[in-house]
Symmetry: none
Subunit: 249 residues, 2 copies
DNA sequence: AAAAAATATGTAAAATCGTGCACAAAACCG
DNA sequence: CGGTTTTGTGCACGATTTTACATATTTTTT
């Protein structure tokens, strides 16, 4: 196990759970506690997390990147992407957010499908131009170093002129009462604008992010139309959402 | 086993697994670890992956494209890029076109240099966000499938609001009498708009494209301020340009 | 205050790295 | 074609890094 892998694993855990225990990680990664301790020290020095007695917590000043989680739950993401693609109709207009799950969607889009896609995400745009029948419009703006997406006023303004059939929202935390939440204020603004564009708001998320919340609110659950996860349809974690009228896949 | 084969194998492994162990590869390819180490070093220098202790991990900034192997005249491009970078001043505003030479510029930009860069090129934007001190603004629009850049009216309109110190123009054909030419009408429109933004127009081109012309005219030689090539300063192919007042590097 | 947990520090073994060098293969050149 | 240069590869060796364990110290909990 490379140090880099451990670091990514730890950061991902911190990002999802907001805190980690040193002993847990040592066990999960099958390395000594000393090694984990050193890892946490290094990540602490780089400002990626805040080391505390017994483990570490999220650093409130650090924006957690969307690429640190690219290795994890990859199987699930493929599954989610596959389900989500089935919602799309030929000739439709789609707005895609960032995140690795949406990247998977972009990769798995069938070649024959004709679509017009608006996206502020660099990796997703890169992936989309491989498809001949997809017209990709990159919604430009100032690029965020970590998230690899365009942010800021210009980007949001551009979205306000778009009318789309679907909006595929990627990463973010989803809670039945709090709704969709984010840790980065600028991303919140962008997501709000994207949701506005679309008739159908589709949230793609792995179960880990369900029933957890971040600092800022993007929208209530009622504004979401479809929820796509890797879970079974009758999983108890989903009942609250389907009760609120969401179409759960 | 050719080096090229090993490189491909390694990159493919990285792409699939997101990480590789040096010892594994040495075994799988039946070569010494030293050789693999050197391979990883080279791939690291080219920005294709990130070398770490014990192996390598995927470089999240690298775009794994299909037309990967434009390594043609790669040495020259590095040389040109290095020269061109010396023109830049800290705190400046730069407009970058597409092309592999500009991609090289983006890759080789020194970490300490503070810049604001406007570009319509996806791969270049992808490369630029790796630099902490560079603010990248992607000028969005409809993406061209083959050129991997944004084209069309919106893109051009956005550039009309930009005032830059430099404009780095990449690929294109340059002739002493015809000036800068292109074969794609839409690219011509875009390049014109980009030239308009900048006080200094810098053309980066390998010698092969000098004294050849395409169908459409972008601008006369007189609108170009600096010409950067891999050639010696006193090469006969350049005299015509320096005679017309171009600063030749 | 004592017990438990977590941390800091030192050390030794193992893995990995960098460098110089020899040798072979390939490319170059007259 | 033969000789030279260049390039790539493997090996040896010392230097460095990484890791796990042992032990002492600090912090937290009871």
């Amino acid at each position: 196990m490379l140090r880099e892998e451990r670091h990514r694993y730890i950061l991902n855990e911190v990002k999802i759970r907001n805190r980690v225990l040193l002993t847990d990680i040592a066990q999960q990664l099958a390395v000594s506690e000393d090694t984990v301790r050193r890892d946490l020290q290094q990540l602490n020095e780089r400002g990626k997390l805040k080391k505390v007695h017994g483990g570490a917590v999220a650093n409130s000043f650090h924006v957690y990147t969307y690429r640190e989680d690219q290795i994890y739950a990859h199987e699930h993401k493929i599954e989610i992407a596959t389900k989500a693609i089935q919602l799309l109709k030929d000739g439709g207009v789609l707005v895609m957010g960032g995140g690795t799950t949406n990247l998977e969607v972009a990769r798995l889009l069938p070649e024959h499908l004709h679509l017009t896609v608006f996206t502020p995400s660099l990796p997703i745009a890169m992936q989309l131009i491989a498809h001949e029948n997809i017209e990709t419009i990159f919604v430009g703006g100032r690029l965020s170093h970590d998230a690899q997406i365009a942010l800021g006023g210009e980007t949001i303004k551009t979205f306000s002129h778009v009318k789309a059939d679907y909006c595929f929202m990627g990463t973010g935390n989803l809670d039945a009462t709090q709704g969709l939440t984010e840790f980065d204020w600028e991303v919140v603004q962008l997501k709000k604008a994207m949701i506005e564009t679309a008739q159908q708001v589709v949230v793609l998320t792995i179960s880990e992010k369900i029933n957890s919340a971040q600092r800022f609110n993007v929208c209530p659950v009622t504004e979401i139309h479809v929820l796509v996860t890797e879970l079974d349809l009758y999983d108890p974690r989903l009942t609250e959402f389907s009760a609120k009228g969401l179409n759960v896949l």
